[in-house]
Subunit: 521 residues, 2 copies
Amino acid sequence: MSVNYVNLDKSDNFKKLLETPVCQIKEELSSDRIKKYSASAGAGLVYNFAGKKVNNTILTLLQGLADEQQLIEKYKLLLNGDVINTGEKRMVLHHHTRGMKLDDVVSEGQDMTKFYDGEKKKIYDFAKKVHNKEILGSTGKPFDTVVQVGIGGSDLGPRAIYLALKNYNKPVLNAHFIANVDPDDANNVLSSLNFETTLFVLVSKSGTTQETLTNQKFVLNKMEKANISGLVPLKHFVSVTSATSPLAADTNYLSSFFIDNNIGGRFSSSSAVGGCILSLALGPEIFERFLSGAREADKQALNSNIFENAALLDALIGVYENNVLNMKNTAVIPYSESMSRFPAHLQQLDMESNGKSVNRFGDRVSYSTGVSIFGEPGTNSQHSFFQYIHQATSIIPVQFIGFRKPQIDADMEYQGSTSGKKLNANLVAQMTAMGVGKDDENKNKNFDGERPTSLLHADQLTPETMGAILAHFENKVMFQGFTWNINSFDQEGVQLGKLLANKVLNNQMDDVLKSYADLMI
Amino acid sequence: MSVNYVNLDKSDNFKKLLETPVCQIKEELSSDRIKKYSASAGAGLVYNFAGKKVNNTILTLLQGLADEQQLIEKYKLLLNGDVINTGEKRMVLHHHTRGMKLDDVVSEGQDMTKFYDGEKKKIYDFAKKVHNKEILGSTGKPFDTVVQVGIGGSDLGPRAIYLALKNYNKPVLNAHFIANVDPDDANNVLSSLNFETTLFVLVSKSGTTQETLTNQKFVLNKMEKANISGLVPLKHFVSVTSATSPLAADTNYLSSFFIDNNIGGRFSSSSAVGGCILSLALGPEIFERFLSGAREADKQALNSNIFENAALLDALIGVYENNVLNMKNTAVIPYSESMSRFPAHLQQLDMESNGKSVNRFGDRVSYSTGVSIFGEPGTNSQHSFFQYIHQATSIIPVQFIGFRKPQIDADMEYQGSTSGKKLNANLVAQMTAMGVGKDDENKNKNFDGERPTSLLHADQLTPETMGAILAHFENKVMFQGFTWNINSFDQEGVQLGKLLANKVLNNQMDDVLKSYADLMI
């Protein structure tokens, strides 16, 4: 396969999109369109885009853009182990952690399917032994709690998924998370724990993450100070790290599971980074179902027809909204309290991947790349920032996520409808209101409409659905990166802050840094 | 006092700002500037704006804009009970709940100081009796848990403040919150509770909020189904509502506390809406200290000199960034895990207040009003979307919040520094990196800098500091609303969604609404 990596503004279809008249949602929106403007995302997840500012003319050009930018071909090359992460000169292999591949891929002499499956099996075996009480705490008590110590990609995704699924199936072990170097975070979490029955999962690919190592030392210190007879702190720790990291060499841990350099933190939820804590907390069966949903979505994303590939279409409409309609934000609103922290994960996934100003060759691009992402669950957000979405001077497209059934089978009727029905009545009411609006002579009560919306929907938030939602957004972000011709898989923008923080800690400050430090330290 | 309410684009100073050359942070930033560009926010809270794209010329014009738009005079009129909320024809009296006033204000024949102080005293008396075990659950057991049932302004502010202060002082009662009409929210919270020892606080000003009444019925139902001998469900409920609401008339509640129509939900944290749960959970002394901090910030906000009024200056710089520099987002980043939910509260406060397209007279404005607000705590956010802030094509100003001491006095040293020092080293490193940047021939490792930052800092996140931070932002939002000549105190944009949701529930749908409903219900 031979592909060309070219900037968005070289695309003929993109140029035509810039010249094509913008369409009006309120003129287009109809029962027929709501039925037709729908694309599968895999695993029962469906993307409805009837509320977007697109029509058949624009969709044809978006299909042309996808073909011209060879998005599916580039996805296939990524799957096959091309060095897509040009900045760090690495492969991009997160799909392989859920068994999605076209051919075998070998990295540094290692068959990567064997590597990922092998680590997964080690984790599953370990988790089962913990659950069966074959593996106990150092004072002989069974574990009832697991705490992830990690930050960024080692925290946001696993945490969001744990919260999303803990009401689906009662956790086997209760999970907690320590991420922030703020000592109040660790102290707060530790205050409620019984060290004898708690297992810690230390996650750091490099084995050098400042916050994570500090927090580990913090925990170890507290365990020692607790002065519990027979307690061996490190025997309450497993590590998830790369095989070459300093952590991996330390045999004092209860166990170690390995990750590799071909997966960035924000794409690591389906690797051992998510797999270890999720298998311990929810069970290997639940994690396996989560992976199967992600794999289904990955397969769907291979389709070159935008009407049969939700991730691809979602990506292209996002580019259209950003680069043609000049909309620089997207709100992600799950109508599901269980998904309360998923927008925070997506914020990282999308903004860290596509918040770039140079293309994959290191040349500055002359167009806008990634948008800002934020969100809170509905209906809560209706009582918060939806005023802004309906009536502000800036337009924010909304990506709704909804489920036909609640997770916990204990709903009740009040005034003729269940809570679940009220929830979804609000969801569809918001989609309609944002698109169609309502004229009013009192301009303060007028709704212009023309606020773009889309809906990812499924029957229920199951492990499979959660996997598919995660993979949908991972693939959307990837396709957008290809469309903009940027590298979505490095993060050089985080380096300068680290460097300067170390200068403060090592007392090597220039005047400006010193003056700021004098305010705070 | 006679004031003129005029649109921003009529202002001479604003026109001059549009013509004034933009200044470069990296050229201006110096040790001297960091010391000088600092304004008091009251109660020990200080606003540092050395990292903003302003110089003395621009600041002089911003002072001129403040004077021209009569911002302090309008604040005084608001304090004195003018009908500032023109849409709903109401006063705006949240300052009075913390004792901030210039003169007595009478609303509907009632002296409002007496009203707010009276309800506060009722709450304090009630809370003390609960704490002293003079008031018990209906089966004779003392209360150990309090649950707020409310949404939007009845949820986000009180929840954020509870989380912010629960590590400062061990809670007297543990607090939980049920907001979402999603049944998984209530079921999840209720699953961990002992009904006999739980007190619920039902908060709805109108007494008709769909989600809140549904959730109350949900809770009552679960309590009845629990079949606990002697349990009288409504005797585990207090209500916080307006004196004229249907709830207020019901004498079956354990107690009722009143709020009034002169305070919107998002400004109600210092009223009985926040006061009831916070006094029960944290104690009246803590809530009283919180109010005193807010009052100090309110007093500081009376100063007409922008260098001595942080809320005013923060507001004006925000307008400059939005309307001159064309920056439409602001990230709010507390370097404090305890403040993890404060950005969500601020998102509501700011976006619901200033996400408007018409001025206070109902005429459409021709300029941009409120910005989008989002945020997560540092250092977590460094490992998430800070890549975007450093290197994306869109620029997002960052409002940092930091404290010199952690809340919990149990920090530890590792590799020569405490966790708290590492936290703040990162904070000042980020401020420096965003402003100054770093040139690199490899454009992928290049940092342009010129990302505006500001810092609100204090010694510690105490009740007083939390009150001052809350009031700072409430006053900032108010001053921005005055500057844009909009009404920051109504929210007509939430009405259409409510109307359409009821149409779904009452089966009165048009084709579009029905087709969306068919997807989800």
